[in-house]
Each structure stands twice: as C-alpha cells, then as structure tokens.
Amino acid sequence: MWAFLIRRLLYMVPTLFAISLVAFVIIQLPPGNFLTTYIAELSARGETVDRSQIEALEERYGLNDPVYVQYLNWISGIVLHGDFGQSFQYQRDVSELIWGRLGISVGIALCTVLVSWAIAFPIGIYSAVRQHSAGDYVFTFLGFLGLATPNFMLALLFVWISFAYFGQSVGGIVSREYVDAPWNLGKLLDVAGNLWIPVLIIGTAGTAVLIRVLRANILDELRKPYVTTARAKGLPEWRVILKYPVRMSLSPFISTVGWVLPTIVGGEVMVSIVLSLDTTGPLLLEALRTQDMYLAGAFILLLGALTLIGTLLSDLLLAWWDPRIRHSQLEEA
C-alpha cells in the first residue's frame, strides 16, 4: 500500500511540473504584458507615462529577461520560498490574495461532491430497481436537463427568480452583517444558508452523470445469477439489493470523483462569476483580463494541483473500497 502511495506521489511530480509549464505558457501567451496594458489604459485616460518609471518597473519584475529565465525565477520562487510573486493589479503578494479564496473554492467543491453523492445515490438505486417506472422517467429527464443546461444559465435563472419573485438580490457567501464577525454558530448557519444554492447549481451536471452511471451499473448487476440466488435463499429484497448489486456498482461511482472534480472546479468558476462569490473564479477572470500574470498563473497552477490531489484521493478511496482493485494495484507496485 505504501509503495503504491509513494509511487503515485512520485508520478505527481512530473505532472505538476508539466502543469506549471502550461500555466506559465498560458500567462505568457497574450501579446504584451501587464505594463503595456496598464500604459495603454493610462494614455487612454490622457495621462502621461513616465518612461523611466516604466523601465524601473520592467527591471523590478524582470519583464525584459528571456522567457525561460522568467519561468525559472517564477517556479524557483514557488518551490523554494512558497513565493508566488506579486500581483500587479493589487500591488500585493499573490499568496495573500489567493489562499482565502482557494479555501472557499475547495470547500465548495467538497460540499458539491458530497451533495451530489447524497442526491445521486438514492435516486440512482431507485431508478434502477424501478426501471421504466414514472419516477425513473422523471429522474432520467431531469438528469438530462441538468446535463444540457449550462451552469451559468442555471445561476442566471436562479438570480432572476429570486429577484422577480422574492425581491432579493443574491450574491456573496457571507451576508453583510457577518462579514467582519468572528466565526460563530450564527455565521456558520448564514454561510450554510447562502452556500446551498451554488452547491446545487454546480453539482447538477455531475449529479446527473452519477445517477446515470449508478443506474446503468446496478441494472447490469441485477441481471446476474447471484441476485437470483440471494432471492431464492429468502433474503428480504432490500438486503438483496443493498448488500450485493449496490456494493458492486459503487466502485465506478467512487472512481468518478477523479474526473468529476475538474468539472466541479470549472463549474464553480463559472457559477461564482455569475453569483459573485468570493472564490477563485472572478479573481481569475479579472487577472486574465488585465494580464496580471503571476496571479493568473498561480490560480491555474493551484487549481491543476488540486485536481491532481483529488484524483489521487479518489484512487486511494477506490483501493480501500474495492479489494479487487487494491490487489491489482499491489501487484503492479
């Protein structure tokens, strides 16, 4: 088990390195840099730009160095000192800006995974056991609808409904009266009250996929002879289903976490922008627009790293859950 874990962790190193390269290439792709955007903005407002000041800034941020030197400076700063560089826009350390928001993003992603499991599990079992029933059709239809509707569209619909029918304008995770308050039960309830909507919206597509996977798996299992045997031995129906087919069907269910996570992270970015939540989404979008390269790069790098960790966790969970997978992994390692 340990050998497997260590091997997987070692595998992550080159992948992380590749992700950092991709993140850096992306932030270098747009022509010009933050300073040129900034200068263009200043001259558009009719302000004069001091040449020497620009040169001082370029010097300070190393913008004139060759690209690979810039990359080496950036990555060595992160690896050696945990220093993600400076945000041009905010004139602050990127890490200061990023950790809080990343924390909320992770929190929302975790909640979303748990909520989609909680919803998909009973519905998936029900749809499989009562195949072709009215309930099955309703859930299947809702599932397809959830898959087909863009997340941001759902968020917009929600904004519209809450505004038009309840007269509320939504936005933010923490209500105004709690922003500066220390964490207590009231604030926690308030956050939970505001959070369930984005969580549901982000989770729709993932939940729909999970329901379909679970339903298809259980349907496959239900036709197998061992189910008939269990019935013939006189086990009550709920035990027949829960103890064998459901258990067999859960492995793919767990392994989906690996690929559901990137979807959730992406969906979270979109939904947060619409609902103006203080997560990574809006800040990443703004950073990309203003070519705030270190800020944008750090976000892409960290979101990628998080996804890798999520995949690893789901693989470990799978190995713990399913002895067949555990043994084959042990043999490989």
């Binding site: 747009p30 941001f152 917009l156």
Partner: protein, 386 residues
C-alpha cells in the same frame, strides 16, 4: 398513435416487393451492419424525435438569413427591451377574421427611472405574413434578397416575437443567426478534435507498448487540468484585434485542443479490443497490410461507436463556447452566437427588466439535449449483434 404501426407495416410490406423479390426471404444476418443499426435506432423514440429537432436547427442555421424576420443588426431606438408579442391567429375586432397578427406597442418613459415601459395596444393590430418582403440581406453573402419566412406585412411595423434587446434588436432573429455560429463551432470543433483523437488514439491502440504509454500519459495529463480555467486562459490570449473569422477559428482550435481526449480514449479502447479479434488475425494472415486491415476490417466495426462519441462531443463544445463567450473571452460582438447573446443577460437589471434576454440559453439547452439524446440512441444501437 394507432395509425403508425399500420403505416409502418404497409411500408415494410411494399418495399421488398417493389425492389427485389429476394429480399422477401431475408434471414437475420442478411441485412448490412448499417441497416441493423438504423433499425435499432429507429425504435429509439426520443432519439428519433431529437433527430428531427436537430435537423430543424440545422435548416435554421443554413437558411438563417431567410428564416429570421429581420437582420441581427437591425435596431430600433423606440423598442429597447420591448417585451415579446404573442402571435395571434383569429382577429375578432370586427367580425371573425383568420390570419396572423400581433398587437402593437404603446410605450412611455418612466419619469423617474427613464426606462421605457410598454403596454400592449390592442387597438393597433399588425398583420403578419409568410414570405414577406422585409429588411434587405445578402443570402450566404452571395446575392441580395429581401424575402423572409415570416415577418410583418408592412416592413416598418414592429414585430418582436421573442422580445427585443437593449438596442431594440429582435431577439428571435439574433437567436436564429446565433444558431449558425454556435452549431458550426460545435461541428468544426468536434471535427478537429476527432482528427487529433483518432490519430493519437489509433496509434496508441494499434501499436500498444511504449507508444501507448506515452499517449496515455498525455491524455491523463490533459484531462487532469481543470478545463474551464485552462480554456479561460487560452481564450484570453486571443488578441482582441483579430478579425471575427480568425477569432472564430482560434476559439474552435482551443476547444478541440482540450476536447480530443475522450475521443482518443474511445478509439484506443475499441482498437485494443478489436486487435485481439479472430477476424483481424485472419485478415493479417491473408496478407493484408496494416492500412488495409485498419480501413477495411477494423474501422467498419467501430464506426457507430465513434459516431456516437462524436455526437456526444458536439454538445460539450457548444456548452463550452457559450460559457466562454458569456464571460467575454470567446467570440466577440458583432459576431452573434448564443453565448455572445447571453452577455446581454449578465447583470441583474437586464434579467429583471427583460427576462427574455435569457432565451438564448434555452436554445443552448434544447440543442444540447437533442444532441445528447441522438448520441445515446446511436450508442444504444451501435452494437446490433448483442
């Protein structure tokens, strides 16, 4: 309902008689693979209905200029955020009169907010007709025309069946023009992704070994990066001063660069399982070259699987395009796509005052839903020998 089986029965009864008498005594297995697939697909009612929906959407996309009541740029300062009009069929104002018409608007400005407020003016009817003359357009950019499928009989009358946006442009026309861009981005994007996917997936599956490992690592890596942030980063890098067409292709290429992984996995999986089949071995022992083995013997047995994956990949592209354009990172106005149109619905004022600006999102949902159903239908019927 009751008539359908009868008609189908007479169809199948007459078809063999008129074509070839030998077909009457057909045994299972005498039908070609594609016939079997088609027969199973036809039984999938949702997929068949969706095929019709997608066919209509495609027609709308192809003949957008003609189908739309007006052009997407046609604005009217007097009708900013005009609400949708209901299309009526029977005029009872003086006697009973059959014919399409809508009611006109009367509008006044709210003295405080300066927003226009519209009331339906039932005394003013605007006759609506088919194949009417209206705004001039260039059909496919080739020849000028001014006939529209539907529109007000008097071209100057306002007709906004799905409401108007903040510049008084007709939402229906804009959504119709958007169909062309959004659907074609899905198609072109999937075509590009398919080229990459089938090349890499095929190589990986056919050669196996070290090549396979390298391609697999590449796929795993591409899939491990969260797509939306990556897409956002790449599209943000597309310069603003590129022309609409260049931007369009840049966005399509970016979408396909990330969308190929699933296709490659499907192709590889099929290749791996087919490689071990007896008929492939037989073909090779018969002296078929690699290219011929793949093309003549392996490809036919997984075409339907690939078609299914392709169909299921198109909606993903459409969703991605609309999301990126909505953020302002994808296509830019004056190009009209469903995502670009959704930019109008970005703030609470426009959604609250003019909820019909959300309608392009409904178009996205309908198209994606229909394509998903078709893809599922093909996948279910892809293996007719089961």
């Amino acid at each position: 309902m009751g008539r359908n089986p009868l008609r189908r029965g007479s169809d199948t009864g007459s078809a063999p008689a008129s074509t070839a008498p030998a077909a009457r005594t057909r045994t299972p297995g005498a039908e070609s693979h594609s016939q079997l697939v088609w027969r199973r697909f036809r039984r999938h009612r949702l997929a068949m209905a969706s095929t019709i929906v997608v066919g209509l959407l495609a027609l709308v996309a192809i003949f957008a200029e003609f189908v739309a009541p007006t052009t997407p740029e046609d604005y009217s300062a007097d009708h900013t955020h005009a609400p949708p009009q209901a299309l009526r069929f029977i005029d009872t104002s003086d006697g009973i009169d059959l014919g399409l018409y809508v009611y006109g608007y009367s509008s006044e400005r709210d003295p405080e907010t300066l927003a226009r407020e519209y009331t339906v003016d039932e005394s003013h009817t605007i006759p609506v007709g088919f194949f009417v003359e209206g705004t001039e357009y260039e059909m496919w950019g080739l020849f000028p025309a001014n006939r529209h499928l539907i529109g007000p009989v008097n071209a100057d009358d306002p007709m906004y069946l799905l409401g108007a946006d903040r510049n008084g442009r007709d939402m229906l026309s804009r959504i119709i023009y958007g169909t062309r861009v959004s659907l074609s981005i899905g198609l072109v994007g999937v075509a590009l992704a398919f080229l990459i996917g089938i090349a890499l997936g095929g190589i990986s599956g056919y050669f196996g070994g070290r090549t396979d490992t390298i391609v697999q690592r590449l796929i795993e890596f591409t899939m491990s990066i969260p797509t939306i942030p990556l897409w956002m980063g790449l599209t943000a890098a597309v310069p603003n001063d590129w022309g609409p067409l260049t931007t369009y292709f840049a966005i399509t290429v970016i979408l396909s660069l990330i969308g190929w992984t699933d296709l490659a996995r499907v192709v590889r999986g099929r290749f791996l399982s087919l490689r071990e089949e007896d008929f492939v071995l037989a073909a090779r022992l018969d002296g078929c070259g690699r290219a011929r083995t793949i093309r003549r013997h392996m490809l036919p047995s997984f075409t339907s699987h690939i078609v299914a994956s392709l169909t299921l990949a198109i909606p993903l592209m459409i969703l991605a395009e609309s999301a990126l354009s909505f953020l302002g990172l994808g296509l830019q106005p004056p190009v009209v796509s469903w995502g670009v149109l959704m930019q109008e619905a970005q703030n609470i004022h426009s959604i609250a005052g003019a909820p019909w600006t959300l309608l392009p999102g409904v178009a996205v949902t309908v198209a994606v839903l229909a394509l998903n159903f078709i893809g599922d239908g093909i996948r279910d019927s892809a293996d007719p020998y089961q």
